[in-house]
Subunit: 136 residues, 2 copies
């Protein structure tokens, strides 16, 4: 079996936070809003191709991230999406949104203006908190 | 308990196809590509607020729609997303995509150009097929 690798483009666009269960957790480098990307370690290219166990675990993780955004990152909503038109590897966006955020009420894809990157300390701290929440 | 109603804006934007299980199934009026919207009959505003049973049923339905797009509507991919920045009622988009479609590779939200509406006959036929597939 070929070794699984997170797609190069996702690693370019994101900080790699770590792995939990079957999924790799990334944080988009744009610091304008909290934007996580979940990459299940699978050959499936779309949600409907996952096994029941994988689908269940992906749900648990994306739901926990959505709650993390609302409980710990002052977000009002989460936008949860599997798109994959540019990067075919299955990945699920979980994006924290609030009225007045940098591209509200538009979707982030194609609309999020450039923003300063987060500091290394901030990324480390956020990664630690997120992974702790996902491990619960 | 207040009677559940599909949000007015969704009914304006879409053809109402019918109900299956806990979900109402809509088809976006833009005929440029097949774009379904699933509205679970729930007070939850986000996927992570659904009960386990509701979440499981929503997954079954969105997965079945994604397969329908690929098996019966010549789509290469599905874009599956819960956004809700403009319409707060929980609804999940399941959009059929292919290379060269009217806004490929951009997302449909904010980018899909106007297109002729489908005929009433076409909508009826599609609704019948989709609901039969979802009932399986």
């Amino acid at each position: 079996m070929t070794e699984f690798r997170v797609h190069r483009q996702l690693l370019e666009d994101c900080h790699y936070l770590g792995r939990t269960g079957c999924c790799h957790i990334l944080l988009h480098r744009n610091g304008g809003l909290p934007w996580y990307i979940v990459v299940p370690e699978t050959g499936a290219l779309e949600l409907d191709e996952l096994t029941n166990d994988e689908r269940y675990e992906v749900d648990l993780i994306t739901d926990a991230l959505a709650r993390f955004l609302k409980q710990h990152q002052q977000c009002q909503r989460s936008n949860v999406a599997a798109i994959g038109n540019r990067v075919p590897q299955l990945h699920i966006h979980v994006v924290g949104r609030w009225e007045g955020d940098p591209c509200w009420p538009d979707v982030v894809w194609g609309n999020l203006p450039p923003a300063p990157a987060r500091s290394e300390t901030e990324v480390d701290e956020l990664g630690r908190l997120v992974l702790a929440q996902l491990a619960e």
